[in-house]
């Protein structure tokens, strides 16, 4: 008898367990509406289900602007992944990669010297206004670059060195500088575009210049007008990159005036990618304009370059200038010094 009762208890227990499991399954199904859409009021509904179904999770608020009710959207997660992981990687590869290439190039090639030495006579390459515009854009770019890179790399690189309070103060001032220097930078880019567009239209001479590697390897000096193909490339990077930076930057600086939150996420993605590539390209420009080539800095320093430098790097431009002003217009330069 006792044995039979024990069996009966076992069977009843098993049936009770089956009943509980059977009842639990419909409870899960209740999270969906009859049309198979998610019921957001179901108690056990998951965040992912909500996002998949509704694309955006909104709450309730007391602020009149209903945009503030949006709590979460799937694109926000992609954007967060981009600026936390993808952008730092792109930036590191572009900037550190460019620095590595430049260091390696300098160690192998060294400074590109004026092959025939300085002539002691100079010719005006950029007038005062052109140099003013160049330095306006360049100075702003350096500050914008450093303050912008702080947004992506400041936390891992500077925070441990500066500490919380100092890093906060630095980042706040860097952000002010980033916002307000964008205006003179944009003006500078527009002026650069207008000022040098005529000399930066690609032509057949550029094809030959590129074929001969720009004369950067060996002692070759392919002919070039006022701007060679490399300089034209820098010009278009500045004009197109600067425009992309300005447009995407102002979309972020004036949120919701032109675009919604998804548009601003795209603006930040464009701003970030173009910025790190822009910085990498300008590192190359700064290198060749300073330690990479003898006599190059003088073009933007004093505005005058040695005639032999012009002959070797911009022979067609020198011919044009001589045809325009006469062969004896070059200024004697009694105290010629190298650019290094």
């Amino acid at each position: 008898m006792a044995n039979w009762l024990a069996h009966a208890r076992f069977i009843i227990g098993a049936l009770a367990l089956l009943f509980v499991v059977a009842m639990a399954a419909p409870a899960s199904a209740q999270q969906r509406n009859p049309d198979n859409s998610t019921n957001p009021t179901a108690s056990a509904v998951k965040e992912d289900q909500l996002l998949q179904q509704m694309k955006i999770i909104s709450g309730r608020g007391t602020i009149p602007d209903t945009k503030s009710y949006n709590i979460e959207q799937p694109a926000g997660r992609d954007w967060r992944d981009f600026h936390q992981y993808t952008l730092p990687w792109i930036g590191t590869i572009a900037i550190v990669g460019m620095l590595a290439v430049l260091v390696l190039f300098y160690l192998i090639r060294g400074m590109v010297r004026i092959e025939h030495g300085r002539s002691g006579r100079t010719i005006v390459r950029f007038n005062a206004f052109e140099r003013f515009v160049h330095w306006m854009a360049a100075t702003c770019f350096i500050v914008l670059g450093i303050s912008g890179l702080n947004i992506t790399f400041g936390r891992p690189l500077l925070l441990p060195l500066l500490g919380l309070e100092n890093f906060s103060a630095w980042s706040q001032w860097a952000k002010y500088a980033h916002n307000y220097l964008s205006f003179p930078f944009t003006i500078g880019v527009v002026m650069i575009f207008l000022m040098w567009i005529a000399g930066n239209i690609p032509n057949n001479v550029d094809v030959e210049w590129v074929k001969r590697g720009g004369g950067i390897v060996g002692d070759d000096h392919p002919p070039a007008y006022r701007f060679n193909a490399g300089q034209k490339m820098i010009y278009w990077i500045v004009v197109l990159g600067g425009t992309a930076m300005a447009v995407s930057g102002y979309l972020l600086m004036f949120p919701f005036y032109v675009t919604d939150v998804v548009g601003m996420q795209w603006a930040q993605i464009v701003h970030g990618i173009v910025a790190v590539l822009f910085v990498a390209a300008m590192l190359g420009h700064i290198y060749i304009g300073t330690i990479g080539m003898e006599g190059a800095f003088e073009a933007m320093g004093t505005g005058e370059v040695d005639v032999n430098w012009a002959k070797e790097h911009h022979s067609l431009w020198l011919e044009e200038e001589r045809a325009r002003t006469g062969p004896n217009q070059a200024q004697p330069q009694p105290h010629a010094t190298p650019a290094e």
């Binding site: 009149p64 005062a128 330095w135």
Partner: protein, 41 residues
């Protein structure tokens, strides 16, 4: 050098001018949060 220094002066003038103008456009928090289109989040 003169071109560079002139550029620096003009940069500061434009940046400060932009800061002053934008500061005037900027709404105070109590006004912005009472507006249906001015919340910046």
């Amino acid at each position: 050098m003169k071109a560079f220094l002139s550029a620096c002066v003009v940069i500061v003038v434009i940046a400060v001018g932009a800061a002053v103008v934008l500061d005037k456009i900027n709404k105070p928090a109590d006004e912005a949060f009472a507006s249906p289109s001015s919340v910046r989040i």
